[in-house]
């Protein structure tokens, strides 16, 4: 029920109505709950209403943190891989 989809604003008409693009489909959306929305912004859409504007800077920060995790994991994985091989040899 609280499912919200990230979508890009493609059209804003008068009275806060407009459309977003979600995976190539244009969906009618009401923007009355947000301030200063422009075409090109990313928003979270829920039940036909945009409920939040995506903060791109915060998004970039999270994604780069996650990429760091993946790199760490790769290093750990190498170690683990060696351990497993040793185990197999011993077992």
């Amino acid at each position: 029920m609280c499912l919200g989809i990230p979508a890009r604003v493609v059209q804003i008409d008068e009275s806060d109505l407009g459309k977003v693009d979600y995976l190539g489909t244009r969906v009618k959306t009401n923007f009355a709950l947000l301030e200063n929305i422009k075409v090109g912004d990313w928003v979270i859409v829920h039940a036909g209403f945009a409920i939040s504007k995506l903060n791109e800077e915060e998004a970039r920060e999270t994604f780069s943190l996650l990429r760091e995790m993946a790199e760490k994991e790769a290093a750990v994985d190498d170690n683990k891989g060696n351990k497993k091989q040793n185990k197999r040899k011993n077992g």
């Binding site: 029920m1 499912l3 709950l33 301030e35 039940a47 409920i51 939040s52 999270t62 996650l66």
Partner: protein
């Protein structure tokens, strides 16, 4: 955005989580409050992965379709079966909830009446406009994520004097049941994963009492696998450091103070009331009702509905226990054989966010049992 589902990222986060749990004396139990979180946790197999990493996940009350007592569903069913020329609009899941009076999907409407599924509450306004000879009631259910949309729809109906439109409301606010769960002390929770989209509306502050009064850590999280693991990591950090806060791990969507415009329209149109939750009982100030000033659009008043307290659960259904995190769905004796998505017996098997539905759907071995 691919990082959010990337296997390497997920493994990296799980490794971090395992490192943290190893330093703890017992496995922490974390409640994912929101049904959409439950969905992600199971869909991507995180439940088992986390168990291996030393974290027990329990599902919470965050499915509005599930926690709405049968008494309200039955009032909606009565409206369309006992009144002619009535259109009841609602979200799809709501039509399939079985009650003592059948379900909206199966009940036979009176002459000229019907049930219509809508995606957005605003569609109901269009339906009301194009059917001036009929009464249109939107059976609106939701948490804070959905409530602003319903409040705006209400305001528009009122402003435009739409005489044949009203709302039967089942509106719930998330923080009060969390207090109820902690106070009940039936289940010990070491951390709360707070719902991302409810938080996009209400911000961080409404959860603060959980950290301050009960010392329980928590984190707001988004809905992708990595989002959830980030939230859990943050909770484990808090446990380790012996401090409790409301961390925001979904800062790309959630602002500390929420969405002021949404909060303002809620405040303008609605006011809090004590409400019955399925399983959790009567919780003070946990629901919202339409303000008196707008009561012309309140279906409960317009049609003189008397909705009793209590859940009105069907005998044998354990949804109430599932919603409190007291049992997991497979522990309900009706699970799978007598209750499954094709023939649900309780609301937790109806909704896409219901814990029983999610357990069933993402556990392929269960289907063979049928």
């Amino acid at each position: 955005m691919k990082e959010l589902r990337d296997k390497k990222v997920i493994r990296g986060l799980l490794y971090e989580i395992e490192n943290r749990t190893q330093a703890l004396s017992s496995s922490p139990r974390i409640m994912e409050v929101c049904g959409t979180h439950t969905m992600t946790v199971h869909k991507y197999g995180l439940k088992n992965m986390l168990e291996k990493a030393g974290v027990e996940m329990v599902s919470g009350p965050g499915c509005p379709v599930c926690i709405t007592p049968n008494e309200i569903h039955e009032a909606a069913i009565e409206l369309v079966t006992e009144n002619e020329n009535f259109i009841l609009t609602t979200f799809g899941d709501m039509t399939r909830v079985p009650t003592r009076k059948s379900s909206l999907q199966k009940a036979v409407p009176a002459a000229g009446s019907m049930v219509k599924i809508v995606y957005s509450p605003r569609e109901s306004l269009e339906i009301a406009r194009s059917n001036p000879e009929k009464q249109v009631v939107f059976f609106g259910v939701g948490f804070e994520t959905t409530i602003p949309a319903i409040a705006l729809t209400l305001r528009e109906a009122f402003e435009k004097n739409l005489a044949n439109f009203s709302i039967l409301s089942a509106l719930w606010i998330i923080p009060p049941p969390l207090r109820a769960i902690v106070e009940a002390k039936e289940i010990a929770i070491d951390g709360f994963l707070y719902p991302g989209h409810v938080s996009a509306i209400i911000g961080e502050k409404p959860y603060q009492f959980i950290a301050e009064e009960y010392g329980i850590p928590g984190a707001i999280a988004g809905f992708e696998p990595s989002d959830i693991l980030l939230g859990i990591s943050s909770i484990l950090d808090q446990i380790k450091e012996g401090k409790a806060t409301v961390a925001n791990e979904y800062s790309r969507v959630v602002r500390a103070s929420g969405n002021p415009k949404a909060l303002a329209v809620m405040e303008e149109m609605l006011e809090t009331k004590d409400s019955y939750w399925r399983g959790l009982g009567l919780i003070p100030q946990s629901g919202l009702k339409i303000k008196k000033r707008y009561s012309a659009c309140d279906a409960e008043i317009r049609f003189n509905l008397s909705i009793k307290g209590g859940s009105g659960d069907l005998p044998g259904c354990r949804c109430g226990d599932v919603l409190q995190g007291l049992i997991s769905p497979p522990q309900c004796p009706l699970f799978v054989e007598k209750c499954n998505p094709d023939s649900p017996y309780g609301p937790c098997m109806v909704s896409f966010e219901g814990a029983c539905f999610v357990y069933y759907k993402f556990n392929p071995t269960l289907k063979n049992k049928l």
